[in-house]
């Protein structure tokens, strides 16, 4: 019991630590958000009025690129000394959980910003915007899990940025296919029951990704 409480406390303080140190380097945050906003603006300048399916496609493309960009640095930014310090504080599972939760938070922020920009510039083609947001958030859990593990892997391979993209895009593709399908449902305002099997599959995929990430991460832990 005590150890569970202890590890929850470590988890929270790791997240707080991450948040605070990221907040201090505000250019990083600003960079990520500007990346998303610029991408949306380029899409808007190209299409002017975004028809529904294009809206969804552009949104997920921007999400995919800015999330790989944002999460790709989640192990790279910490220096060797800080990494060692953090690793001596927590068990691998707790450490990974803190990273994944922080990244989910980051993805939700990027999602809100991208959505806002796209709604302002591209209009709102959705019949059911709330459902789209829920689908996106459930997707971000899996996306964050997969990308965090890949970030740890590419960090081990001397952290080249291209490697992150090459390794992560094919792996998150099943997730993307489901997310695009569910977003289309929200676009057309279909009865939620019509998308129930897809929702179950999305949750199952999230679970699969997270459990494999937690099983495999300890092997990337220390040299």
């Amino acid at each position: 019991m005590n150890t569970t409480l202890g590890s929850i406390r470590t988890l929270l303080s790791l997240i707080k630590f991450e948040l605070r140190s990221e907040w201090r380097q505000q250019n990083v945050f600003a960079g990520i958000f500007l990346y998303a906003a610029t991408a949306v603006f380029v899409a808007y300048m190209t299409f002017r009025i975004l028809p529904g399916p294009t809206w969804v496609a552009v949104y997920w493309l921007i999400m995919l690129f800015s999330s790989t960009h944002a999460i790709g640095r989640s192990f790279g930014s910490s220096s060797g000394v800080r990494l060692l310090f953090e690793q001596s504080l927590a068990a691998p599972g707790v450490y990974l959980a803190s990273k994944i939760m922080y990244n989910i938070f980051l993805l939700v922020l990027i999602h809100l910003l991208t959505c806002l920009c796209m709604l302002v510039w591209g209009g709102n083609p959705f019949q059911d915007l709330v459902r789209f947001s829920w689908v996106a958030v459930v997707g971000h859990i899996g996306l964050s899990g997969a990308l965090t593990l890949i970030a740890a892997i590419s960090r081990k391979a001397s952290g080249q940025a291209t490697l992150m993209v090459v390794l992560s895009f094919p792996v998150v593709m099943p997730l993307m296919l489901l997310l695009i399908r569910l977003s289309m449902h929200a676009l057309d305002g279909l009865n939620p029951e019509a998308g129930q099997t897809y929702m179950v599959q999305l949750l199952a995929l999230d679970l699969l990704i997270l459990s494999t990430a937690f099983l495999l991460f300890p092997y990337l832990w220390r040299d």
């Binding site: 890949i150 081990k156 792996v171 199952a204 495999l216 040299d223």
Partner: protein, 225 residues
């Protein structure tokens, strides 16, 4: 007589039966499909072979992470290379078939898309392997990626293609290979073809691993002198 392990004799025997029978054996006459129905003997075994080889690769990665013996990494490497070869052959035989029956090399069919993504995953695995200089780190990190990719491959190949209608045999109301009047004449060739090509894949991996081992030895000798 060369001395070969029994499974290699079985492979040779079955392939020498399957290949001539595949090209010349009796097949049901079907409109549109015509003679292209023979692709069943070559295209489908490639996918079976790929799945078994990639599973073997994932298994060796798992064993590597448990026991940290570099030979398991060599095996994982070999199986993934041959799996990739089988996947490429499966995709290209499928594309040629699709051109003459569906009318396009690529038609956005869910199975085509899924297999393209699967190939991308394992090509990424090759890229990852090549970006390390230290064998132990390479073995450990690429084993992690291999297992993760395999875990993502299962929903990709077995769940997602079933979500949408497709022209692919066995999907969306199209007859699968079981109902292609897969009468005795075709079964007798198809099942041995699956077994023979899968075994051939394992044989190829075996040769590949031995080649790698020799090149390791030569490299050691070269660097020592």
């Amino acid at each position: 007589m060369p001395r070969l392990q029994p499974y290699k004799w079985i492979t040779l025997l079955m392939l020498s039966l399957v290949i001539p029978m595949g090209w010349m054996g009796e097949v049901p006459r079907k409109i549109i499909l015509n003679e292209s129905i023979r692709n069943l003997y070559f295209h489908v075994p490639m996918w079976f072979g790929m799945i078994f080889l990639l599973a073997a690769s994932a298994w060796h990665s798992l064993v590597y992470l448990r026991h940290k013996k570099l030979q398991h990494d060599d095996w994982a490497d070999a199986y993934s290379v041959v799996g990739l070869l089988f996947g490429t052959l499966g995709l290209s035989t499928g594309m040629i078939w699709a051109q003459f029956t569906w009318g396009a090399w690529w038609s956005g069919d869910p199975k085509q898309n899924a297999s393209a993504i699967a190939l991308l995953m394992y090509l990424a695995y090759r890229v990852l392997r090549n970006s390390f200089s230290q064998p132990e780190t390479r073995a450990r990190v690429s084993a992690v990626y291999n297992l993760f990719a395999f875990a993502c491959l299962i929903p990709l190949l077995f769940i997602l293609p079933r979500m949408t209608d497709s022209l692919h045999p066995g999907n969306g109301g199209n007859p699968g290979f079981n109902s292609y009047d897969l009468d005795g004449r075709m079964r007798v060739v198809f099942y041995p073809a699956v077994i023979a090509f899968t075994l051939l894949g394992f044989w190829l991996s075996n040769v590949y691993t031995r080649l790698r081992r020799i090149s390791h030895l030569l490299q050691d000798r070269y660097t020592r002198n």
